[in-house]
């Protein structure tokens, strides 16, 4: 009676084709709910290892035209029923299809979970155990890192604060259940209901914000690096200004979560380290480098800016050593001035790895912009750069958890309306608490007992 899992199993690329894999005892049944073929044949009534043409529907709306591969257990990768959906409508559609699957009873696969199941069901040779375990632990770590990294700052605080409120409600109810002679809950339901309605408004707002893509940008994480005074801000303003599309803040939740997002010729860039973009007074070189290290580690693409009117120094060499293994576009700036450093000098500093692509720019003369954009789109559409798949998956997981907490809180409100005793309220409040914890990567553990004792004076 294992649950059914789903995930996008191809690399996310702009080409628009992507595969979603569903595995588990209800895989066929769930896909049947959203897939219709012209012949009206149900997958559950079809032969195994067959391909079906048709459409994915959300209610009456067609979402995508797809090919479905039906593979019934046990001759499948996981030895469970597996259905693969080949979608054609691009990233947005892929995401919608995955969401539909979740709404119909799937769960998003844990990192490495298809392989784990394949192994546990005896599909993968025992000698591979080591590799499978490494895969699970490294993927989990990566996934955790990703979900935390896309969730810094105020959004984290917002969810933490909602979660902490929910914990307080539970602690209050539980404290009074454990110590009814010291604490009374008379009239608490009304107060609680009001607070829950407010909380659910907030959660709903966050869900909508996620759906609008405002919370987590699914784009290419781009680090802009270069030592101070190479002209980062002016060149960026030149290149990006007209097309700059700063995503609007929502309810003060995202200001420092959202760095700037720009769309250039159809390619979405998330610019990391905005602090570096808006040059601060803080021009001590050391700090500049620390910043670079941090943003480079998160980046799918690095834009490295060099001042061609100055010689390369140790700072430059240090930066280059950090970006050695990254896809890099190097902007050789201040081409209007006397050239001291050129392409060849920079290439010498890159040792035995992929060289950056070069663009000569001059903020003053406004040259180099077209070339930069064309190099960028070539890289993207040739598939040389892509963004981290995990970000989108983390995003989906988080929306899903938010929706679950929303549902749980609604059930509490229903229970209050149905005059259920207070101890029933904490059941769903606890589920909401757990779902909110999943978003920010925290477990329930002993929070509740600690909260009870810290907030309420208990006992004999």
């Amino acid at each position: 009676m294992k649950d059914t899992i789903a995930a996008i199993c191809t690399a996310l690329s702009p080409s628009g084709i992507g595969k979603i894999r569903v595995s588990g005892s209800e895989a066929v049944e769930i896909v049947d709910k959203i897939f219709k073929s012209p012949g009206k044949n149900k997958l559950s009534e079809s032969d195994t290892h067959t391909i079906h043409y048709g459409h994915i529907y959300n209610g009456k709306d067609v979402i995508d035209e797809v090919l479905v591969l039906l593979m019934k257990a046990p001759r499948t990768y996981t030895r469970e029923d597996v259905v693969e959906i080949d979608c054609h409508g691009g990233l947005y559609v892929l995401k919608q299809v995955l969401n539909l699957l979740i709404d119909n009873g799937c769960r998003i696969a844990e990192p490495g979970e298809f392989t784990k199941r394949a192994f546990l069901n005896g599909r993968i040779d025992l000698t591979e155990a080591e590799a499978v375990m490494d895969l699970i632990s490294s993927k989990s770590e990566m996934s955790l890192k990703n979900s935390v990294s896309i969730l810094n700052g105020s959004l984290y605080k917002k969810i933490s604060s909602i979660r902490s409120d929910v914990l307080y409600f539970i602690a209050k109810i539980e404290a009074s259940l454990d110590d009814p002679e010291h604490m009374s809950l008379d009239g608490y339901e009304e107060e609680l209901k009001e607070k829950l309605i407010t909380i659910n408004k907030d959660i709903n707002y966050l869900i909508k914000s996620y759906d609008n893509g405002k919370i987590i940008k699914e784009g290419i994480n781009t680090a802009i690096v270069g030592k101070p005074n190479v002209g980062k801000s002016s060149i960026l303003n030149m290149i990006l200004d007209e097309e700059r599309a700063i995503v609007t803040d929502i309810a003060g939740t995202t200001r420092d979560t959202l760095e700037e997002t720009v769309v250039l010729n159809g390619v979405t860039l998330n610019l990391i380290d905005t602090a570096g973009i808006h040059e601060t007074k803080d021009s001590v070189e050391k700090i500049g480098i620390e910043r670079s290290i941090n943003s480079i580690s998160k980046a799918d693409l690095v834009i490295y800016i060099v001042d061609s009117s100055r010689e390369l120094d140790d700072s430059d060499r240090e930066i280059i050593s950090l970006i050695n293994n990254k896809k890099t576009i190097c902007l050789v700036n201040k081409s209007d001035l006397n050239k001291v450093t050129d392409k060849e000098d920079i290439i010498k500093c890159f040792n035995n790895c992929e060289l950056p692509l070069f663009v000569e720019t001059s903020a003053l003369l406004g040259t180099g912009k077209e070339q930069f954009i064309s190099i960028l789109s070539d890289m993207f559409f040739d598939g040389k750069i892509s963004f981290n798949d995990e970000v989108m998956i983390s995003n989906l997981r988080q929306i899903n958890s938010l929706k679950e907490s929303y549902e749980s809180i609604n059930r509490v409100i229903d229970s209050i309306d149905n005059e259920m005793p207070e101890d029933f309220l904490s059941i769903d409040l606890l589920s909401a608490y757990a779902s909110l914890g999943e978003i920010i990567g925290e477990e329930v553990s002993d929070d509740l007992v600690d909260k009870i004792f810290s907030e309420f004076c208990m006992g004999k």
């Binding site: 784990k116 490494d134 632990s137 454990d178 101890d423 904490s426 059941i427 002993d446 208990m458 006992g459």
Partner: protein
């Protein structure tokens, strides 16, 4: 220590005759094993050195479970209570909790009487100083105990139920005595012996308030708290009609600002705040000093005056435990309304004692490193009579089963509060004495006090503590409940005029279509009695059966959800981890997880997942590893 060569042969030795020891000893003897129970004083058998009551929230559940399994606590309190109350009656059935005030002396005598007349059981006054063991192939195995006089008792299993006696130290301000509770002799030898065996110990602390002469109190300034009109017994074997009796009252009063001022002004004389106490105390039973310091903005704290018994003038001052010196105690107590002229019979004090460090116990309550050595109660890091008795019963059963060559009885978290209690004690690093709480039981909707018999009688029967007749009744009861639920689900009420009129009289909405009796029962304003009108084919059923039927129908949705959670919980509990697993072979486990798993040695993947510091990814890795080694 005495020198003599006397050697006595027995099967099982129980060290300590508190609430854990009594249950352990009775269980072993009732299972037919020759059992000796040791106590420093026969007068202190089943002593209640702190609060004069049994049960309360979640603890009441434990007592019911002990009873369902064949333990004694429930029967004993039914014989000796002087007030009874069902708490949380306005809440859901899962948190209804029975609590009874005990006549302490009567409780203790009555339990002693049971012990004295139990076949196969011997009571022996004497301090156990040594655990004797042999070591075969590096494995320690108990062989007996030695008491202070030098006499050796050879045995095959031991249950340590030493309560707060090990290296006990009592503190009342600057006055420190090296005694156990109530001035009884402490046990000063056993700790060293245990440490030498590699059984590491830590210090915990607890406390108790003053006892006063009730003639010195003015009850007219307090609120009277009466018992329930209809008394419900703890034991499933007690006939409710037999225990309806006149009850005594408790009284409620409050501390005030004057009380708090005195406490604040004298904190430097409190051993806790002066740093003299090293043990960790329970947050659940804070001293009045703690309450005043930690909840500084609270204007008053409740004080419950509870009688200690029918034939004594002593009363217990609940809510004001303290380790302040006597002069401060008297001053502070006298600020409380009704206590202006109070006379203290026994001072409040704090007590420190040795108990086990985390990670040493297996879920059978056997100490992992010493075969045949079991333990229960405060020695295991818990607090409370009921928690102690519950562990005592399980440790006793498992000690007996070990001697008999049978598998241990291990209840899981979805079966009993006892399961939650023991799982928490053996899987978590509790930093304070552990108290049972309803919020610790994640499946509490299923673990109600009203269905403890349906949940656990079968285990009591399999173990041998529940008779055929008692078990047959449970089988009958379960089938009667199932049949009645089925009948109510399948008996429909039409929407005819007369029916609608009757519903209207009850303030219930009219029917749109034929509706089952079960659906009607789900309406808040309807109950089993007032739907009799629609129910023409009803057979007469006993009250306990009707109660179960109504709960199952009214809360069906919630119960079903928890049952689903339990199903997935059970899956992980069933994935066992072999004893000889070497976590160093599992290289993908994170270091923290590996260390914790090595320390706690969980029996199952489920248990492993509850250890703090073990993540879901570690669990996946573990599952893959177990598959790869073919387990």
């Amino acid at each position: 220590m005495g020198q003599n060569n006397l050697v006595i042969e027995t099967d099982i030795c129980i060290i300590g005759a508190g609430h854990a020891g009594c249950e352990a000893a009775l269980a072993c003897a009732r299972l037919g094993l020759k059992t000796v129970i040791f106590t420093v004083s026969v007068e202190s058998i089943a002593l209640m050195p702190c609060n004069p009551n049994i049960g309360g929230t979640s603890k009441g559940h434990l007592v019911k479970e002990i009873d369902a399994l064949g333990g004694e606590m429930g029967k004993n309190i039914d014989k000796t209570f002087i007030q009874s109350k069902m708490l949380n009656l306005s809440k859901g059935p899962a948190v209804h909790s029975l609590r009874a005030q005990a006549d302490k002396a009567d409780y203790s005598h009555s339990m002693r009487d049971i012990l004295e007349n139990q076949e196969h059981l011997t009571i022996k006054q004497g301090e156990v100083c040594e655990i004797l063991f042999e070591e075969v192939d590096g494995l320690k195995k108990v062989t007996g105990v030695k008491i202070f006089t030098g006499t050796t008792y050879k045995c095959k299993a031991i249950v340590i139920c030493s309560g707060t006696y090990l290296n006990a130290r009592c503190l009342c301000g600057e006055a420190i005595t090296y005694t156990g509770p109530n001035g009884l002799q402490a046990a000063t030898h056993l700790s060293k012996c245990l440490k030498d065996m590699g059984v590491t110990l830590r210090r915990f602390k607890t406390g108790t308030p003053a006892r006063m002469d009730k003639r010195s109190l003015d009850f007219s300034k307090m609120e009277e708290q009466k018992g329930d009109e209809k008394i419900v017994p703890f034991s499933f074997s007690t006939n409710p009609a037999d225990i309806q009796k006149e009850q005594v009252s408790c009284y409620l009063t409050y501390t005030n600002n004057d009380t708090h001022e005195i406490i604040r002004a004298n904190l430097d004389r409190s051993p806790i705040y002066a740093g003299i106490i090293e043990g960790t105390g329970p947050r659940y039973c804070p001293s009045i000093e703690d309450k005043v310091v930690k909840f500084a903005d609270k204007e008053r704290h409740q004080v419950f005056i509870e009688p200690e018994g029918l034939y004594t003038n002593e009363v217990y001052v609940g809510g004001m435990s303290s380790s302040l010196p006597e002069d401060v105690q008297l001053k502070m107590y006298r600020t409380v309304p009704g206590m202006e002229n109070c006379k203290i019979v026994r001072n409040a004090y704090a007590i420190e004692y040795d108990c086990l460090t985390p990670g040493l116990l297996s879920p059978s309550l056997e100490i992992k490193s010493v075969s045949g050595l079991f333990s229960a109660g405060q020695f295991n890091g818990s607090s409370g009579y009921e928690e102690a008795a519950a562990q005592g019963l399980i440790a006793g059963i498992n000690a007996a089963r070990k001697v008999l060559g049978k598998n241990p009885l291990i209840l899981d978290r979805s079966e009993a509060y006892i399961g939650v209690l023991i799982d928490d004690l053996v899987t978590k690093e509790n930093l304070e004495p552990y108290r049972m709480m309803t919020s610790r039981a994640e499946y509490r909707l299923l673990l109600r006090q009203d269905n403890a018999d349906l949940r656990l009688r079968k285990y009591g029967y399999e173990v041998g503590l529940i008779s055929q007749e008692q078990y047959d009744y449970i089988l009958y009861k379960q089938s009667a409940i199932d049949a009645e639920v089925e009948r109510l689900n399948n008996t429909f009420v039409g929407s005819g005029k007369e029916n609608q009129k009757y519903l209207e009289e009850l303030g219930s909405a009219p029917l749109h279509t034929a509706t089952s009796l079960a659906e009607l029962l789900c309406r808040p304003e309807l109950n089993y009695d007032n739907i009799t009108y629609f129910d023409t084919n009803r057979c007469s059923l006993s009250e306990d059966i009707i109660e179960q039927v109504c709960i199952q129908i009214k809360y069906a949705g919630y119960i079903e959800r928890q049952s689903r959670q339990v199903a997935s919980f059970k899956k992980m509990e069933k994935k066992l981890i072999p004893d000889d697993i070497n976590y160093d072979d599992v290289s993908s486990l994170r270091l923290e997880a590996r260390q914790k798993l090595k320390l706690f040695k969980p029996l199952s993947v489920g248990q492993a997942s509850r250890i703090s510091g073990v993540t879901p990814a570690d669990i996946s890795v573990l599952l893959v590893y177990l598959t790869s080694i073919g387990k």
